[in-house]
Amino acid sequence: MVKLFFLLLFFPVVLLAQTDWQKWEKKDVSYQRIAPFLERDYSLSGEDVFGSVTKLFINTYWVLFSNLDGDNCPFNPTCSSFLHQAAKRTNPVKAVLMFTDRFTRDMNPFSRRDNYPLHLTGKFYDPVELYLLEENSVHYLSPSHMVQ
């Protein structure tokens, strides 16, 4: 009887024993910097002719320059994404004009804080909607605003 009791006691003890011994193990830690901007969408599906041409151009730019250069665009969406979104929302001429205007604004390093609201990513929020020149498309956000 006593033996049976000890045997029964033994199993729960083993089952409930310390299992987090793994925390003392050696870990292979990666010190590689996480770069979410590298998770890009290169697909051309759902694009029209101009959209496909623009996307091909942007993909080439991403592969040859942006991926190597790093996440340097101060805006959200980035200039290349801005062009892509503009191409999707408008016609080719307007998209190119919007992009050149954005490119000029990108070159101006002064008083960005006074002109653009901050995005949660730490970038300045400058969406395509503000530049479509369509009625009621400008939903003004104060530069003191934080965009999620």
Partner: protein, 280 residues
């Protein structure tokens, strides 16, 4: 032993809890305490508990007021309140509902509600009229200066007149003028739309490409000349487009700041809600 037991029993009975903590009066007392401690969420819950078994006009109003204090305007609007004038806080509750509609920017519903309410207290009547005037500013509706200023006393009149002037003569920038300016001097449209830095950089970019085009043509590098001409043209046109957009954004900013200033003013005035002293 028996005597000890009897004595123990008697003491237990005499010292036993004589109050019922869940009685409506105790619940109300606790809710009032929470309300005065500004714990409006729990106060509202306790008031609701009280109202399940009892009816009290002050408690109903304090419930609504608790929701209002937490900025839970949809709860204020959905709170079932008697619409008869026998309800002591009829005017106050209706006014709270009006402020809630105002703060939710539901101005069409505000108009309907305001036309239905018949207030008996003159102060709240005046305050309602004041809120109605502010809906004109918020919606950018046209009304005469006399009509807009009429419910306000001398202290407020200057501010309201100032709002009226700002509404009538907003410091807008013309998108067309911005485009014309930028087509004459690249970047000047942006400067006109209050984007000085962008204007300077637009001027420099277009200028540099134009110079490169000129220089290459001069040196008989035709391909490079046309290439830079194309780029200069692209940036020139892009800048005209961007100037129009910048003027539009500027105008949206003017409207935003105007409405923001009204909100700040009304917040300072507590949306003309009277002071209720339920705690002293």
């Amino acid at each position: 032993m028996k005597i000890i037991s009897i004595l123990f029993f008697c003491y237990s009975l005499s010292l036993a809890q004589s109050q019922l903590f869940n009685s409506p009066q105790e619940v109300k007392k606790f809710a009032d305490y929470l309300y005065c401690e500004s714990d409006y969420l729990r106060a509202a819950e306790e008031y609701q508990r009280f109202l399940r078994t009892d009816k009290n006009d002050t408690v109903i109003f304090k419930s609504v007021l608790s929701y209002y204090m937490m900025d839970r305007f949809s709860d204020v609007l959905n709170f079932p309140v008697s619409s008869t004038k026998s309800f002591v806080f009829y005017d106050d509750t209706q006014f709270l509902k009006l402020i809630s509609l105002f703060r939710l920017n539901m101005f069409d519903e505000f108009d309907i509600e305001a036309s239905l309410i018949k207030m008996s207290r003159s102060k709240l009547k005046t305050n309602t009229e004041k809120l109605i005037r502010f809906t004109f500013f918020m919606r950018d509706s046209i009304a005469s200066k006399g009509f807009l200023v009429s419910p306000f006393d001398e202290n407020e009149k200057t501010t309201i007149e100032n709002f009226y002037e700002r509404q009538q003569n907003p410091q807008h920038r013309s998108p067309l003028l911005a485009a014309v300016f930028s087509s004459i001097i690249p970047g000047s449209g942006k400067v006109y739309a209050d984007k000085l830095g962008d204007g300077i950089f637009a001027f420099l970019t277009t200028g540099v490409f134009a110079f490169l085009a000129y220089d290459n043509f001069k040196a008989d590098h035709k391909f490079r000349g046309w290439f830079f001409s194309g780029l200069a043209g692209l940036f020139y046109a892009g800048n005209i487009y961007g100037s129009v957009a910048a003027a539009q954004i500027f105008n949206a900013g003017v409207q935003f700041n105007f409405q923001n200033d009204i909100q700040i003013y009304l917040t300072k005035k507590k949306h003309y809600l009277p002071e209720y002293d339920f705690c002293n």
